[in-house]
Structure formats: C-alpha cells, structure tokens
Amino acid sequence: MVEEIGRTADGNIIINVGPQHPATHGVLHLVITINGETIIKVEPHLGYIHRSIEKMCESLTYRQFIYVTSRMDYLSSHINNHACALCVENGLQVEVPARAQVIRVLMDELTRIASHELWWGAMAMDLGAFTPFFHAFRERETINDIMEETCGARLTMNYMVPGGVMQDIHPNFQQRVKDFIKLYKSKISEYDELVTGNIIFQNRMKGVGYLSPEDAVSFGVSGPPARGSGVSCDTRKTYPYEIYNQLQFDEILETGGDSFARYMVRIREMNQSIKIIEQLIDNIPEGDFQAKTKAVLKLPKGEFLQKVETARGQFGVYIVSEGGTTPYRIKFRSPGFSNLSALDHMARGSKLGDLVAMMGTLDLVIPDIDR
C-alpha cells in the first residue's frame, strides 16, 4: 500500500505541531500521529535552535564559558551560572565568602519564582485563558527590576563568577525584595481564584497526562514533573550545595502524577522559595562578595561534576580538564531534554487539547533542550 502524504499506512493523520506553533513556545517541532482527536504518537524533532554551546565552551576560558550558559535556559540563567561557577570553584578548591553564598542563593530563589511566574502565565495561555499571563507578568516584572538594579541585566544576568558574584548588591536590594514579598503575598490568592480553583481548569488538568513514579525515573524526568509523580529528586535536598543544608524549606511532593499534580508542585514551590528568601534577606553577612582568585584560572587535571536544581529540574555541569586554561570537554545535563522525552509516553491516548496542557506542565524551554 502506497503511503499517502501526511497519512500513516493505517489511515491516521500526521500533523506537524511546530516548529512555528503557538503552543510550543519556541521552535520545538512535534510530529504527531492522530486518529480524529486522539493522539497515537508524539515524535519530537529537535535541533532548530542548536548552537553547539558545549563545543563553544571548549574554546572559552573558565571565566568566559559561564556567560554562554545564560543563553541555555534563559529563564533560570542565574542557576545555570551558579552551577558552572560551583563546578569551577570545586576544581580550584576556592572558598567562597559567606556573603557571596547568601547572595547567590537569594538570586537563585528569585529566579525560580520569576520562572514559575512565567510558566504559570504561559500554562494558562495554553489552556486558552489569556488574562493570567498579564497578572503573572506584573509580579515577574518586579523581580526583573530587582535583577536589573543589581546585575545590570534582566534576562541573561551573568552575575555569578568563579569565587563569588560579580559585584556587590545594590543598596536598594533588600528593601525591594521585601516589597516584592509583600506584593507577592497579597497577589497569590488571585492566582488561586483565577486559575487553580476554576472548574474548567481543574477538569482540563486532573487525570490528564499521567506519569507513574517508575516511568518518571526511567525517563530521567526531574524537577517539578518528577515531584508531581511523587519522586523525591530536589537536588537542593538530595545533594545540598551552597548553604541549602542550613535553610528551612520543604521539598514539595505531590502523588497525583497528572498535570494537576505538576501544576500544584510549582505553585507550592513558589511559596517555599519565598520562605527561603525571607530567611536570608535580613541575614546577609558582611564581608567580601568575591574570593581572591588568580587572573587566569587553570583547573587541575581531572573530571568535575556539579548538580543544581533549576526551575525546570536537575541541571548538571560536567567538566573534563587536561590542566589547561580551557576545558577539554564540557557536558551539560539539561532538565528540559529528559522531561521532553516523557511527553510521548504521557500523551498517547489523550486528546489533542491535552497535549498542549501536558507540554505546559513540563515547562519546556527550547534553547535549554537544544543547547
């Protein structure tokens, strides 16, 4: 039987979702096979925004390569930079000043909130509600302003450097973060009223895109999608880095395994981030913001690995050094890539409209997947 264009042999229709499609939030290309409205198969095609960042890093020095990593997962650039800085410090055996450590954690958590805010708005937009996007951006804008004041940038901050942070925090920083916490707490109930409690939203999310804990582990899913299936995988708890083991916060676990569980994990995580910020904002120790390091960094011969928890899941940096000024080989473990691999498994048998909701709960950032 000759295969007709756009159809499989058994008569199912093949549709290209993307690379230009409003639901993929970037240049992700999904080739989906559908029978009517029911999804038979989802096949992600990657590489539309591949910039070979890992290869580029091999020709950059240990100070320079960190800036490139801001361009991977642009919504958690602080956390990417943080991972790279930690990995280099680990190799150099540099002691980071206490002030820098606290500032780093503060920035990480602010980034996490900003990222989840954007996800929340985009998630609602995927389901056809436009208004939450603007409400989310109202709060996110405040965080961006704080970042702009201290780091000089709003998206690709490049603030973390080996040995600490690039410059000291702005004098207004503490006050503005406190104002943000106040604003956030007064607005968070709006989120529940507008989206979480909505009956249409709950019907669209509950029981959709089920991912069992076993499957989550076998697909290498990490971050909120895995914790929505009840897999404990918060790197801040399991492999504590920086000062996370001294802080009081909970790892959020939901056991539903469906889209709604993944949604709730992120909403509750934002509150935990606020809790961490509240603990630290008044206790930033005095001292240097950067350790004294040599002008030219040389990592000793060996292999170095650092894992951190970004807003999307576990991010890993793996450096192989030959003792020179540039890394011999770098590998990034990006959360989005593994999380996307579970999409096909989750989406089979559900409706086309649900695919969009599932992609929303995975919170995909395409430059993070393609690198």
Binding site: I15, E37, A124, L127, F130, F133, V356
Partner: protein, 349 residues
C-alpha cells in the same frame, strides 16, 4: 412617514424597491459601525481585565484603531492556497457574512423600528443562525489544511449540539408569551421582563441561553473551532486579508445578534425598566429613549460574553459535548416542561 411619502411619489413596486435599498444600506452601515465598535470594545474590555491600557494611540482614546486595522486588512493580499478548493474557499466568508446580515432583519432596535416585522421571527432566527455552521465547515474543508479541517469538525459538532439548548431555552419564552413574533414578545413584557416575572425556570433558561449562544458563536471558553494554542487559528488558518476580516466581522455581528435576541426575549427588548407601582420611577424610566434601552441591554450581554472570554480557560472537545448532552440538554428539557405547566396554570405575574 418615509413610506407614505414614497407611496405618494412613486407607484407600489418602486416604493418597495426603494425601501429595500434603504434597508440594505442601513444594514450595511450598521454592520460596519457595529464591527468597528465591537472590536474596539473587545480590546478595551480585555485591556481593562488584564490591567493594561489597550488601544489608545489612533484617534481620540484609540477610537480609530479598528478603522486603521480594517484599512490594513483591505489592502492586504487575499491569499488562496494552492491545494484549496478555490470556489468554496472564496465563497465561505461571504456565506458567513450573509447569514449574519439575514439575522439582522427581524430584530427590533427600538419602539416601532424593525426592518422586517416577521410573524415567525423566533423560528426564522433559529433557522438562519444554524446556516452559520455551513460556512465554517466549508472554510475548513476547502482550505485543505489539517488544522482547518479539525477546527471545522469541532465547530460542526459544537454548533449542532448547542443549537438544541439555545432553541429550547428560546422556546420557554415563546410558550410564556404565546407568540413567535419578536415584537409581540416584547409587548408581552410591558408589565415586567420575562426574567423577572418568569420565576426560576426562566432564569435557568436565560443562563442556558447565554452558555449555548457563547458556544454557538465560537467564543471562549467554547472557542474550540479556532483554539489558538492547539489549532493555530482553526477553520480560518488559511484566510488572510479581507476574507479573514469577513469571518472576523461575522463573528462579532453574530455576538451582537445573539445578545440582541437574548435582550429581546429575556430582558424586554426596548421596554424600559419598571418597578410595580413606583409611578414616579417608571415615568423617569419612560423618558430614556427605547433604542437606548435596547442597546444598553444588548451591550450588557455582550460585555458578559467578553468577560467570559477573558476569564475562563478553554474546554476540551469531549468535555464540551458532555456539558451539552449530559447537563444542559436534560435540564432544558425538564425546564421546558416546568414552564409549560407554569404557563397552563398561569403561575406568573
């Protein structure tokens, strides 16, 4: 007045022709005006709900924004895709527009102002409005695009299902007022609008009516036919330029018409608001022109529907059909029995 003057000047045939031309020009003028006003209103309402400003640069308060947009669409190239069925592809937007225009005929805009005083007005409206689905199916099929086809199929299932509930909820008022003539239905509400004197059953049917017409006009949360985040633009994915504008305009005109029908049936059309024996209050209300009453009520309902759109997420196709067949339809059927009993026993004011 115009009628008698024309009759005195010309013979009967010419009078009719001239009157038809006048009516046609009126409808087209009203169309253009309504399209511009409603698009602007939608954008301003959306902006207000979404804590932003909305169009405010072109003209005073952004009032000329939709005019500028229309101009842009007019000069844009109307593309026809290679694989499309050219005749049907180009015909579909005109059918959409035609249906919307036909629906305008029997609506009473003000006291004694009606283009066509039809004795089966309600029946005519439900019959003509179901033609809308043909243009959507035609557009989706002729585009030769999978997204368009899926949008069209969704829309077909949706409009045909929700037609039932809309029809049944309209019937409750027809039973109570005992007439299919829109003018007589309005006159039957001179002592109180049906939503007030019809007790709970009419309120139920009003709510069902609003839900059903939101679905029938493909508005969010029932906008599955175009579902931006799933089907890019649904049945009009391939349309551009003025052909797209006709679909766009038809959607807004349809919203206006269903809201006008809702206002006519449930909120008394151009009847002013009266409260029992408050003579002074009623007298003041009578001074407000009847056209203002009609447009006020209609725009209130339009605002309601816009409010839905900017608040709710979209339903899924199976949930949409479940809502109709498992909830709305049984409720409306039971409701209509209740209203029939009420009408027979005279249990209304």
């Amino acid at each position: 007045m115009i009628d008698s003057w024309l009759r005195a000047t010309f013979n009967a045939t010419w009078t009719m022709v001239i009157e038809m031309v006048i009516a046609g020009v009126c409808v087209i003028g009203l169309f253009a005006a309504l399209g511009l006003v409603l698009v602007l209103m939608e954008r301003r309402v959306a902006a207000w709900i979404q804590i932003r400003l909305g169009p405010n640069r072109v003209g005073p308060g952004g009032m000329l924004q939709s005019l500028a947009d229309t101009l842009k669409l007019l000069v844009k190239e109307g593309m026809t895709p290679d694989g499309a069925d050219k005749f049907l592809f180009n015909l579909a937007p005109f059918i959409a527009m035609m249906v919307a225009m036909l629906l305008m005929a029997p609506i009473a805009f003000a006291k004694d102002f009606q283009l066509w005083d039809l004795n089966i007005g309600v029946l005519y409206i439900s019959a003509v409005s179901s033609l809308m689905v043909i243009s959507i199916l035609m557009a989706g099929w002729a585009s030769n695009n999978k997204y368009s086809l899926m949008g069209a199929m969704r829309s077909g299932a949706q409009i045909v299902s929700y037609e039932l509930s809309a029809g049944l909820s309209i019937l409750t008022v027809v039973i109570l007022s005992g007439s299919l003539n829109l003018n007589e239905i309005i006159l039957s509400q001179s002592d109180g609008w049906w939503i007030f004197k019809g007790h709970i059953p009419v309120i139920i049917s009003f709510v069902i009516f609003i839900i059903a017409v939101t679905a029938e006009t493909n508005r969010a949360p029932f906008d599955l036919a175009e579902a931006e985040s799933e089907l890019t633009a649904g049945f009009h994915t391939e349309y551009s330029g003025m052909k797209f504008a006709l679909f766009f305009l038809a959607e807004y005109i349809n919203v206006f018409i269903v809201c006008a029908i809702g206002a006519t049936l449930f909120l008394g059309g151009w009847m002013p608001f009266h409260i029992g024996h408050w003579e002074g209050f009623n007298h003041v209300m009578d001074y407000i022109p009847s056209s203002l009453w009609f447009f006020g009520k209609t725009f209130f309902l339009i605002f309601l529907i816009m409010w839905f759109r900017w608040t709710f997420p979209r339903l899924r196709i199976d949930q949409l059909l479940n809502l109709e067949w498992k909830y709305l339809l049984p409720i409306s059927m039971f409701n209509i029995l209740l209203v029939t009993v009420m009408a027979i026993l005279g249990w209304y004011f």
